[in-house]
């Protein structure tokens, strides 16, 4: 059935007969994997506790491989719906959500689920909208920019650079912005009795977090609905009601709004019955085989990652990687609670903020006098930043499969694309900090664990994406002139 919509992709004749080693990309790809293996072995010889960090790298490598394989881009999931009316990516994303909710439920039953729910408030919706607007201009979401960097796309590297530095900058911004912060936030933040070195009443982000976000409630559906049993809470409350049912409803909605008309016309079905509609939904699901496969594998991988990190935490008797780092004598860059950012699952934006903050810190900017870095996430050296290595793993994993599939190419952006990358990246950074994560941390990882705030983020992201497409279209029309397409 899928062949109808997926006509053949042919390789160039001279590429078809090439031997495995005759293709340079295979050699480079093997070299990258070998290098990661060698470095992992070297790190384990130094201290076996580095296994905790290596888990992040290897899962990152896996994410990168499947993201590139399925061209898995959540930016296009919301964007292509409005831009070109194609549900392919949105469907792939929903498949991944359903699978991850099941694997996350298994991990919860095993008792090592590392997920923490997000407080629900307006900031999620607004952050999602700003993030969604930004991703239309950057051509990729946060994970998308990483795996596209691995395909040799220098524009995407600029996006990563922009997200890193702007986020680090936003959380330390004070000065005139302090005047815009509502007095109630300032008072509420001051009442939290935070250590003086954090200066929580200076800087808008500190007051936003301590004076607003901390006063909000969040939680998982299993607790909110009162499913006490471990099994019923994880599988019925969180996975089925929180993720699978909404995903199925969204899929049916996408079929009726975007896909049905073209499908029925193509199949010459005049009076469709339920059976035809069900076939149509299935045709939509398999219309991009690679994306659906990637969705399945990413869902399983994300759950396995949570389980692996959870088991390691049990094994070492820790709650956070910072404790392990302190044990190993690496105390520089830890927060005042001796913690570092260590989500234990797929996450993108916070570690990028830490990269930016580390460099700014080295350049002499005071970066640790805030909640985000000083109290919670720390600013570890990028060499020992575990989630940071997950991001590098994503880039390397994408490079491996892009090289092997002859899809790697250094792509230098023109001035316009570069500007969009930097400005769009700055918007994504702002959205990610307001919404407490990107489409992975604030949407994918949350809805799959029964935290409904993720669906709110998706709603905001969709609205922002819709506006972004409008703006992008106007820009293209203005720039190319009207006669450009009068071919």
């Amino acid at each position: 059935m899928s062949n109808e919509v997926r006509a053949a992709t042919l390789e160039m004749p001279e590429l078809r007969g090439a031997t495995w080693y005759g293709h340079k990309g295979n050699i480079y790809a093997t070299a990258i994997v070998a290098l990661v293996m060698l470095c992992s072995a070297w790190a384990l010889l130094q201290d076996t506790r580095w296994i905790y960090l290596l888990v992040y790298i290897w899962f990152g490598l896996g994410y990168g491989i499947f993201l590139q394989y399925g061209r898995f881009c959540m930016a296009s999931a919301v964007r292509d719906l409005f831009a070109v009316g194609v549900p392919r990516m949105a469907v792939g994303m929903l498949i991944a959500v359903m699978l991850f909710s099941l694997t996350a439920a298994v991990v919860k039953v095993l008792g090592v689920n590392t997920f923490h729910p997000h407080p629900l408030g307006w900031h999620i919706l607004i952050g999602g909208a700003i993030f969604g607007f930004g991703i239309v201009f950057t051509g990729g979401c946060a994970s998308g920019s990483l795996y596209k960097s691995g395909e040799g796309n220098i524009g995407s590297m600029l996006v990563v650079l922009s997200i890193s530095f702007t986020q680090a900058y936003y959380v330390t911004m004070g000065g005139w912005l302090n005047k815009l912060v509502p007095a109630s936030w300032t008072a509420s933040a001051a009442a939290k009795d935070m250590p003086a070195q954090l200066s929580v009443t200076d800087g808008w982000f500190d007051q936003f977090v301590a004076g607003y976000v901390w006063n909000l409630q969040g939680g998982q559906l299993s607790d909110q609905l009162g499913f006490d049993g471990l099994f019923s809470g994880a599988f019925i409350g969180n996975a089925f009601l929180g993720a699978i049912l909404p995903s199925l409803l969204l899929m049916v909605y996408l079929y009726f709004v975007v896909y049905r008309k073209g499908y029925l016309r193509r199949r010459k079905i005049m009076a469709p019955r339920l059976r035809d509609h069900l076939r149509g939904v299935w045709s939509m699901v398999v219309s991009s085989r690679n994306t659906a496969i990637a969705g399945l594998c990413l869902g399983v991988l994300a759950g396995a990652h949570m389980w692996a990190t959870g088991e390691l935490r049990e094994h070492y008797g820790i709650f956070n990687f910072g404790e392990l780092l302190a044990d190993m004598g690496h105390t520089a860059g830890l927060s005042i609670q001796d913690t570092v950012f260590d989500p234990g699952y797929w996450y993108i934006t916070t570690q990028e903020a830490q990269w930016g903050a580390w460099l700014m810190d080295k350049a002499g900017v005071q970066m640790a006098d805030n909640i985000f870095f000083g109290l919670e996430n720390g600013i570890p050296d990028p060499l020992i930043n575990a989630p940071g290595w997950m991001s590098i793993g994503i880039i390397l994993g994408a490079a491996v499969i892009a090289l092997a599939r002859r899809e790697f190419k250094w792509k230098v952006p023109n001035l316009e694309t570069a500007m969009f990358a930097l400005i769009g990246g700055a918007l994504m950074g702002l959205g990610a900090r307001l919404g407490m994560g990107c489409n992975i941390g604030a949407f994918f990882a949350t809805v799959t664990n029964g935290d409904l705030s993720g669906w709110v983020f998706l709603g905001g992201m969709t609205a922002g994406g819709w506006l972004g497409v409008k703006a992008f279209n106007s820009w293209m029309e203005w720039r190319s002139g009207d006669d450009d397409l009068a071919i």
Partner: protein, 111 residues
């Protein structure tokens, strides 16, 4: 500065061009291409949007050739058939780029 971000230069050298040429795709056969879009170096969503808008200006049965080096776009074009009323004929994967041939109109209308 040459206009805003080289706006004037862009207006002179449009990515979308009317052409009339025959191509032979090994393993598929001969094709007559009517519109050529050069999207080398462009990222999503530009190739998709240009394809969509070019199809709007084409006659039923005409063939469009899109050249992209962004893997995401190469994957997205075939999936656009259902919504655009076009038929993806074949994608030719060359070293680090794709040539995608799309005919306006549904396949069964002319074979």
């Amino acid at each position: 500065m040459k206009g805003w971000f080289g706006r004037r230069a862009q207006q002179r050298a449009s990515a979308v061009k009317r052409v009339e040429r025959s191509v032979f795709v090994h393993g598929y056969g001969s094709l007559t291409v009517h519109v050529h879009i050069d999207c080398l170096g462009a990222v999503c969503p530009r190739p998709q949007l240009l394809t969509m808008r070019a199809l709007d200006h084409m006659e039923e049965g005409e063939v469009l050739e899109l050249v992209v080096d962004n893997p995401g776009s190469a994957e997205a074009i075939p999936g656009m058939d259902m919504t655009l009323g076009s038929t993806h004929l074949v994608t030719l994967h060359e070293d680090s780029c794709w040539r995608i041939f799309v005919r306006k109109g549904y396949k069964d209308s002319d074979d």
